[in-house]
């Protein structure tokens, strides 16, 4: 592994430098300088990644590990260092992270133009990029955990960016704590790994596994399940997805970068990275697949009825992540990573476009009060159309290739695979339906801005305007990527990733089944579009009366299955109650304080008694004196009086 000057640590440290510069001096620098710093360092980092990609293309052997990594923790026999490793998987992730990351930085310069705390936003964004690159480049679990929790911190800071809004703060805490539940699983997995392998470095673990696999499947399943808990926490799958919809409180570029393109995919990346372990635990893989499919289906149903443009996209992200988990679950890691890449493109684009719409409408996020923006915001409209087509899985667009690869892999994965494929297909239908619903309501039809349904007047309703070019350029670039991102094709992509994600995922056999599946997928997408057109295309109130007919179902979906309320009442309230009364009253007041109070009380009581003994009356004193003297005499003469004359003998004995 010669070190051809890839400057791996620099890729991570550049955004950190950006964070430090903006963080420490940002408030005093002019806005222009702040944005140049914020853009320059990610660009340099992206350049380094591009250069590495070019060198790999020119035949550099991967994986490349840094030679003498500085040690981090070295206690007893346990040793872990700041070890950066670059292999195919990392390269792909880096390209996505730094590429899409830079575009979103560019976009937010325009979007955040007139927000207060401008420098703080960009400092946090750079910090996020630093932690994400560390997560992806990490050569051992502990360093990955640094990135893992780091991105959690960055997302907490960015979600809670609007410090004057309480809901933003609560959403930030909710995100961080739910992530922490996932991290708990990750920690336990790391301890199990130390217990079994004595080390946390990926290369040495895979080496030990290949040399002589002493790991029993039971132990492997336990490790993998803990890892899955971590992944579920970070990638917002059931049951730990609740924080993602609330994370929309943060500015839209944040949602685009963190809650669509990069951070939430960390879970998928981690499963792909540790595929060697997962291959030993088929049970864990099926769990991943089932969770993925269930989340995809569940999130899609909720997305159908959402009215806030960003919440629709949030549930759609959860659903797409479900697809990626399905991909990993059926062993098609490269398909999952492929979908991860394409999803980063079109979901990032969707969020940025939504941002541009919100920016244009002066902060309006409710799609029921939008409409008719096709003519006023043409570039946003066309780029968003590309993204909608991509996510629904229409033929030439990126979504088709990656989603189809996953569904195909699921199809060939035995009987359970077929069931998962079926659910996946239905979810694809729902995906295209809610995406086109969004598409129609936002861009087509008349502008419903002034006929606000709930009557509160829109005092400064100004004419919707197109966003500045700095916001549109990233949109166009991402649109291009969404269109031609998939043309690489799953076969070439899987071949490229093979050394990193293992050869287990046999390339889907060509031939008529695969063709049939892809055609079916496109048909399903078209069906979704058609139904959406029926409901929202024309001006009829078809959508509203459908809602009345299925009122109960509509209410359930509208309230997101009351999951949040259930969690609060089942988990949060009991913990607080137990803490306040169980520990507060029982533990503190009775046990800890009570025991001491009892002790003090008893001694105090004796004190009181003895105090009373002092009656002040002379004759009682004399009586006590006499009694004392009598006691003394009896005590001294005990020997002789009772005939034992032990004491008398003692005198003789002493003399002799």
């Amino acid at each position: 592994m010669n070190e051809p000057m890839l400057f791996l640590p620099l890729i991570a440290l550049l955004p950190l430098a950006g964070f430090l510069l903006n963080g420490l001096f940002g408030s005093r620098l002019p806005k222009a300088l702040v944005s140049t710093i914020a853009l320059l360092f990610p660009l340099l980092s992206f350049a380094l990644v591009a250069r590495a990609a070019w060198m790999v293309h020119a035949g550099l052997a991967l994986p490349v590990a840094e030679a003498n990594a500085p040690t981090w923790i070295a206690v007893g026999t346990f040793h872990v260092g700041f070890q950066f490793v670059l292999d195919q998987l990392t390269l792909v992730m880096l390209l996505v992270v730094t590429g899409v990351g830079f575009l979103i930085h560019l976009y937010s310069v325009g979007y955040m133009e007139h927000e207060s705390g401008y420098w703080r936003f960009f400092a946090y964004l750079n910090l996020f990029l630093f932690f994400m690159t560390v997560l992806v480049l990490a050569g051992n679990f502990l360093l990955m955990f640094v990135g893992w929790e780091g991105v959690g911190l960055a997302s907490y800071l960015l979600i809670g960016f609007y410090i004057d809004r309480k809901s933003a703060g609560d959403a930030g805490i909710k995100a961080f704590v739910t992530n922490r539940v996932g991290d708990f699983g990750f920690l336990i997995a790391m301890f199990l790994l130390i217990a079994h392998f004595g080390t946390l470095s990926f290369s040495r673990i895979t080496a030990q596994l290949s040399a002589h696999p002493t790991l029993t499947t039971g132990a492997a399943t336990l490790i993998c399940l803990c890892l899955v808990l971590g992944a579920v926490g970070k990638s917002a799958q059931i049951p730990l997805y609740v924080w993602l919809p609330d994370a929309m409180e943060g500015p839209t570029p944040v949602s685009a970068l963190i809650h669509a393109a990069t951070m939430v995919t960390a879970g998928v990346y981690m499963i792909a990275r540790t595929h060697a372990l997962f291959d030993l635990a088929p049970a864990a893989l099926t769990v991943v697949a089932v969770i993925g499919t269930a989340t995809a289906f569940f999130a899609a149903t909720v997305a159908i009825v959402q009215t806030d443009i960003k919440r629709v996209l949030a549930y759609s992200t959860i659903s797409q992540l479900g697809y990626m988990f399905l991909g990993c679950g059926v062993g098609a890691y490269s398909a999952a990573v492929f979908h991860l890449m394409t999803h980063a493109f079109f979901k990032g684009l969707l969020f940025l476009a939504a941002g541009s719409v919100i920016h244009g409408l002066g902060g309006e996020q409710d799609i029921r009060r939008m409409g008719g923006l096709r003519k006023t915001m043409p570039v946003t409209f066309w780029t968003m159309t590309a993204a909608v087509l991509a996510i629904s899985g229409f033929f030439p667009f990126a979504g088709f290739f990656s989603k189809d690869a996953i569904l195909a892999a699921a199809f060939q994965h035995g009987s359970t695979g077929k069931l998962l494929w079926m659910v996946g297909l239905v979810t694809a239908l729902m995906t295209s339906f809610y995406m086109f619903r969004l598409w129609y309501l936002t861009f087509l039809g008349q502008s419903r801005a002034h006929s606000a349904s709930d009557g509160h007047d829109h005092e400064h309703h100004h004419h919707a305007h197109e966003s500045p070019w700095i916001m549109l350029l990233p949109l166009v670039l991402l649109a291009l990527l969404s269109v031609c991102g998939g043309w690489i094709g799953i076969d070439r992509f899987a071949a490229f990733l093979a050394p990193a994600t293992g050869m287990a995922s046999a390339a889907p056999n060509a031939g008529h089944t695969e063709l049939f599946l892809s055609v079916l997928a496109v048909l399903v997408a078209a069906l979704g579009w058609f139904v959406a057109h029926l409901f929202f295309g024309r001006r009829t109130s078809a959508a509203d009366d459908a809602a009345q007919r299925l009122a109960p179902l509509h209410r359930v979906l509208e309230h997101k299955y009351w999951i949040d309320e259930i969690y609060t009442s089942l988990i949060i309230r009991p913990i607080q109650w137990f803490a306040r009364f169980g520990l507060g009253w029982l533990g503190e007041l009775t046990l800890v304080r009570g025991s001491v109070w009892l002790l003090v009380g008893v001694t105090g009581l004796c004190g009181e008694l003895l105090r009373r003994w002092q009656s002040g009356n002379l004759r009682s004193y004399a009586a006590w004196l006499a009694i004392g003297a009598a006691a003394l005499l009896i005590f001294a003469l005990a020997g002789t009086l009772l005939g034992m004359n032990s004491l008398a003998d003692s005198i003789h004995w002493a003399v002799r």
């Binding site: 004190g607 105090r611 002379l618 003394l632 005499l633 001294a636 004491l647 003692s650």
Partner: protein, 484 residues
């Protein structure tokens, strides 16, 4: 051979001072202040102090037909008692109201004579006389605040109970004389095995113990202490709680190790029981006390218990422990009572602990020193109190009395509660409704006494080597007894 007169030089000087003070009192105008008399008494005591220090150089020996014996033991206690008396005199020069008569100082000096004699007497007759001299003078001193209700009451209680206990002691001496035919301590020790009847000897011992334990204010005989300390004027209490107790302990050691070494197996369990009783009663009763002087009275009972616990040791270690403990105890008590009298002023209007709130804020020096003495009473390291308690309990532990040590130390743990409540009261800011605390100015005499006591407490805690070697020498003056 050194002339006998040198053996009782300190007592002579003190008596002379007393007489001179009485005479000059007569010459002074009735209305003039008696302060010069105080300085005169202080001068006399200092000379006596130097004399007793000089006595240490004398070779050990008896005088006046073997009634008085001066050895390292008696020299140690002579110096200690003279120091205490000196401090008490210095205290009372400014503390007592102006119109008091001159004989206050004379009484103190005569009491000192009795106490010094008690430590060097080896003839039971002389013991009885010395005991009576010191007791009678302290009876009168206890009742010195005649015009208040408590003064005479404390005097009468002290007088009646004191003489009651002394009667027991006397009866014991009579019985001992009956059993052995002699009242000389060394002779008793030799004649004891051939005593006429053993029950008579044991009876005599028990009766004498009653008298001595009363003087030491050990448990079953402690009931007089709180009332007497509360009633007596604070400088007198500073004297009364230390000097007679020190002398009584010296007498106890003389009796136990001089006269009754053979009864060791008899008095060991007896003193264990009394020690545990006094510690527990002293500490528990003090927990709920609100009156400062009563609380310190109970604390002195507890300290008597700690002292008796040292007797559980083997060989001559207990005597060293007791000697050192009495020195440290005296320094602490004189110090704390001195400051109490300074802060509460001549008419002693502040008796409750709560009245002392905010002293540390008003004048950090007074508060700081009171804190030091309280900490020493608690037994915090680097103070005299700790090392005394440590030394006494380590002697007991070497004697194998682990249980006694455990009970003792737990007791001192409980004791920390009421001492600390007093210390924290000092540290708290003055109560809003409380009247502004006006502290009297520090006069030369009181500051000399208090600073001396404070220095002694610190030195005994940090560098106890010098005093410890004196105490060990005192212990060796008792011939190694019966192969113990």
């Amino acid at each position: 051979m050194t002339p006998d007169i040198l053996r009782i030089l300190p007592e002579l000087i003190l008596t002379l001072t007393g007489v001179v003070v009485m005479l000059t009192d007569a010459t002074l105008a009735p209305r003039s202040s008696r302060k010069p008399l105080g300085w005169l008494a202080a001068l006399g005591t200092t000379i006596a102090l130097c004399a007793s220090l000089g006595q240490a150089a004398l070779p050990a020996g008896t005088a006046f037909y073997a009634t008085v014996q001066t050895d390292a033991f008696s020299a140690f206690f002579h110096t200690l008692i003279c120091a205490i008396v000196l401090a008490a005199i210095l205290l009372s020069i400014d503390a007592l109201p102006q119109h008091h008569r001159g004989e206050f100082f004379a009484l103190i000096v005569f009491g000192a004579v009795g106490m010094c004699l008690l430590t060097s007497a080896v003839e039971l007759l002389v013991v009885f006389i010395a005991l009576e001299i010191s007791s009678i003078s302290t009876y009168v001193l206890a009742g010195y605040r005649k015009h208040t209700a408590q003064g005479p009451e404390s005097a009468i209680k002290y007088f009646l109970l004191g003489s009651f206990a002394t009667a027991f002691l006397l009866y014991g001496i009579a019985m001992l004389f009956g059993a052995t035919g002699t009242t000389q301590i060394q002779e008793i020790a030799t004649l004891l095995p051939a005593a006429r009847s053993h029950t008579l000897v044991i009876l005599a011992f028990a009766l004498m113990m009653v008298g001595v334990l009363f003087k030491v204010s050990a448990a079953p005989f402690h009931v007089w202490t709180p009332d007497v300390y509360e009633g007596a004027p604070t400088p007198v209490v500073a004297l009364m709680s230390t000097a007679p107790k020190v002398a009584a302990f010296a007498l106890l050691v003389r009796l136990l190790y001089g006269a009754f070494p053979l009864l060791h197996t008899l008095w060991m369990p007896l003193l264990w029981a009394v020690a545990i009783l006094s510690m527990t009663v002293g500490n528990l009763a003090a927990l709920r006390q609100t009156n400062a002087k009563r609380m310190l009275a109970y604390s002195s009972i507890a300290h008597a218990g700690y002292l008796l616990a040292a007797l559980a040791g083997v060989g001559s270690q207990p005597i060293t422990a007791i000697a050192f403990y009495t020195a440290a105890y005296a320094a602490m008590n004189v110090g704390i009572f001195a400051l109490l009298s300074l802060v509460s002023g001549p008419d002693e209007h502040r008796s409750q602990i709560a009245d002392y709130r905010g002293v540390l804020h008003q004048s950090p020096l007074t508060g700081g020193l009171m804190l030091l003495f309280l900490i020493s009473l608690i037994g915090i390291p680097f103070t005299g109190g700790f090392f005394a308690k440590f030394y006494s309990f380590s002697t007991a532990m070497n004697g194998g009395a682990a249980w006694l040590v455990l009970i003792g130390l737990l007791n001192s743990g409980i004791a920390a509660a009421y001492y600390l409540r007093f210390a924290i009261a000092l540290a708290q800011p003055a109560a809003k409704n409380g009247h502004a605390v006006t502290l009297p100015r520090w006069t030369l005499a009181t500051s000399a006494a208090v600073l001396a006591a404070g220095a002694a407490t610190l030195v005994l805690g940090i560098a106890p080597g010098w005093v410890l070697s004196a105490a060990t020498a005192a212990a060796h003056s008792f011939t190694v007894i019966g192969g113990l």
